[in-house]
Amino acid sequence: MTLLFREFKLAVNNFNIWSYLSASDVKNKFRRSKLGVIWPVIHQLAFSLGAGVIWAAVFHLKPEDFIPFLTMGFAIWGFIAGSMMEGCSSFVVAHGYLKQLPLPQSIFIFRTVFTQVIYLAIGLATALGVLLYFGKLHPLGLLYALPGLMLLLAYSYGAIGTLAYLGLRYRDLQHGLAGIFSLLFVVTPVIYPAEVLIQKGLSFAIYMNPLSSLIEIVRVPVLTGDFANGSHYAIAGVFALVLVVLRFYFGSRWGRYVPFWS
């Protein structure tokens, strides 16, 4: 508990640093293009509309139901996968600072979390636009999604914090994860409704996969205006907690080595 409190204090005290770093990371990613931050929006819209129309036909679903569903799932998945993969390079890209200045390592964890949160916000805003267009936005849906979003944020912090250490130690981890996540994208119900698998008797694939719970606790409330199944909250909560514990475990065991490995 004192660890968490100290971490929270660090986040508050250094807010101006990590928020500036994140914001300029996002800005710089799109600096050299005219469209700028519109790019991820276009990417998401093109994917949701294009894939939405085709897959709706494949899965025998109504496009006006399926496209909002798909674009929500896509936005959340981007955050889940992005947290893990970008987490691996949190410390790697900060090596110059970590070797030269006595800084709390958490600053670079917060930086990656915040960068991912900015992308999530762009993704969710796009998805909400799509929902509005199809008239699927539930008035209370956003409110019901708040607990899910909180758990998603805890997941992101834990995942990035843990992988920052692992990714610094094992430089090939990021490439490995990229491969794993392209498989997980298929296994996790991002682009098809979880019910499809459950009806085929494959419900274990949903409930054994914490990533699918992380998606459901945000997507279901926004689309239906009600909470998701309680077990999803439990699974996502335990998963996030394990990652946060791991983050502090590696922080205390490997923190000392970070400037050497950088």
Binding site: I17, G96, K99, Q100, L101, P102, Y170, G255, P259
Partner: protein, 247 residues
Amino acid sequence: MIELKNVSIDYPLEHVDGASLKSALLSKFSPKRGPEKKFYRAIDDISLTIDNGEQVGLVGLNGAGKSTLLRVMSGIFHPSHGTVNIRGRVSPLLDFATGFELHHTGLENIRIRLMLLGESNESIAEKIGEISEFSELGEFLDQPARTYSAGMFMRLAFATSTAINPEILIADEVVGAGDAQFAEKAKQRIEKLLSGGRTTVISSHSMDLIRQFCSRVVWLHKGKVIVDGPVEDVLKDYEVRAPTMAR
């Protein structure tokens, strides 16, 4: 004040092919090739106190552990054994070639570095103009740092890192940076910083610089303090003995 008690630093040694998950997993299944040396002791059981306002020079051959010791005193490296106690805000001037965001502009890099050095927003706004001017980068400050030459990096980092007013100054071989013109300017700036009467630890191969600014000299050899005393005594000894010593 900086206080070191029985401090040792063990550098983890890495495999030639780097630390990868692949090699970590493979080594679990491959037969052991006898005991491997996993650490290199860069600092060996050093106890040292630097009082407030004291100006200390650090001398020693290459590889004696000077840079490592400065990183310990800056609070960057945490000791493998022993304890370190640093009281006061430290500004380390260690390496001017790294620590940049290559895709950010020069101006953004100045801002980031000042923030990381602990400057407030007000003081950043106050200093940024003077730093830009000192760096002589002009219109290039709006260009991304990846377009900079080594000399431009150095000027940017030097101008920024020396613009603050730390309680403890730790500097690693900082003089002689840049071309003749900039080096002169840099020297004046360093001299101003060093003559401020603050707690200072500098490592240098320039005995003149140390004679000019330090009252006490610590001589490091193979990770140990072999002589620690008044500047003239130690430097005379150093100049006689050091050239013939084994590394």
